[in-house]
């Protein structure tokens, strides 16, 4: 029997939304306060949803120790308490929460093989959240 398991994590990071392909005025108009030159920070909440058959021996979709270990090592370590604009993956790409959400999806999809990745949800504030389910439409 297949179930979905979701786990939530917290990390804090700063970013500045600014695109080199736009003029100063366009950057201001597009990103508003988020374009302020020294950046600003958020407490992000990351929600990772994986699915799979519930193992009859363990009663689990996957062992949380494996999921927590992977997310800690591959996502929280590189992003927590960092300035996202300084990271190589955001040298060319604006570190919007959309881009960060898709980036985290790729990391988990590529590296975590104990269950199927369904969705990455990233809450930038209590008011804004973003979800990415990969290139296909979600079933639920």
């Amino acid at each position: 029997m297949k179930a979905h398991l979701s786990r939530r994590y917290l990390f804090s990071a700063s970013h500045r939304l600014h695109s080199d392909t736009m003029s100063e005025a366009e950057n201001q108009a597009t990103y508003g306060k988020c374009n302020n030159p020294f950046g600003h920070g958020h407490n992000y909440t990351l929600e990772v949803t994986v699915s799979g058959k519930v193992d009859e021996q363990t009663g689990m979709v996957c062992n949380l120790v494996d999921l927590d270990g992977f997310v800690n090592r591959e996502v929280l370590e590189p992003y927590d308490h960092e300035n996202l604009n300084m990271l190589p993956e955001f040298a060319e790409q604006v570190p919007t929460t959309e881009n960060l959400c898709m980036r985290i999806f790729e990391i988990v999809q590529r590296g975590f093989h104990f269950a199927h990745l369904e969705r990455v949800r990233l809450e930038e504030t209590m008011m804004n959240s973003f979800e990415y389910t990969g290139a296909h439409e979600p079933r639920h």
């Binding site: 979701s6 009859e56 363990t58 689990m60 120790v65």
Partner: protein, 136 residues
């Protein structure tokens, strides 16, 4: 199609142990959750039903009935219980959040008039939850 979600809370204790594993395997796989004295959680249950709105009542489901069924089938059985010892499903299966969600689905399925069960979501903590949508 419209969806309605009803929440409930229950507190219960459990531990994870598979008699087919060695004590060493049980400790390695289940970690702290293997403590045989059990430990507890405040679970939050979200039951989502789906259906068409009844033109006469304007309801997708009789909420009073849904509440009663959840109470009778789930809360009466699981609230303030030691799941491994007091809930029949878990005498032979491990009361993980996954298995709790599946057990609750089976307890509710077929008990509702009109609306169909869409999803059972069980939060073990605010940071960990399982969704079950029925057997595929």
């Amino acid at each position: 199609m419209i969806y309605l979600t009803r929440k409930a809370e229950f507190a219960a204790s459990h531990y994870y142990h598979n008699p087919e594993f060695t004590p060493e395997e049980n400790r390695r796989i289940f970690g702290k959750c293997n403590n045989p004295n059990g430990h507890g959680h405040n679970y939050t249950l979200e039951v989502t039903v789906k259906g068409e709105v009844d033109p006469r009542s304007g309801f997708v489901v009789d909420l009073k009935q849904l509440k009663e069924v959840m109470h009778h089938e789930v809360l009466d059985a699981m609230d303030h219980r030691f799941l491994n010892k007091e809930v029949p499903e878990f005498l032979y299966s491990i009361p993980t959040t996954e298995n709790i969600a599946i057990a609750i689905w089976k307890r509710l399925a077929g008990k509702l008039d009109h609306a169909r069960l869409h999803r059972v979501r069980v939060y073990e903590t605010p940071d960990l939850f399982v969704d079950f949508y029925g057997e595929d």
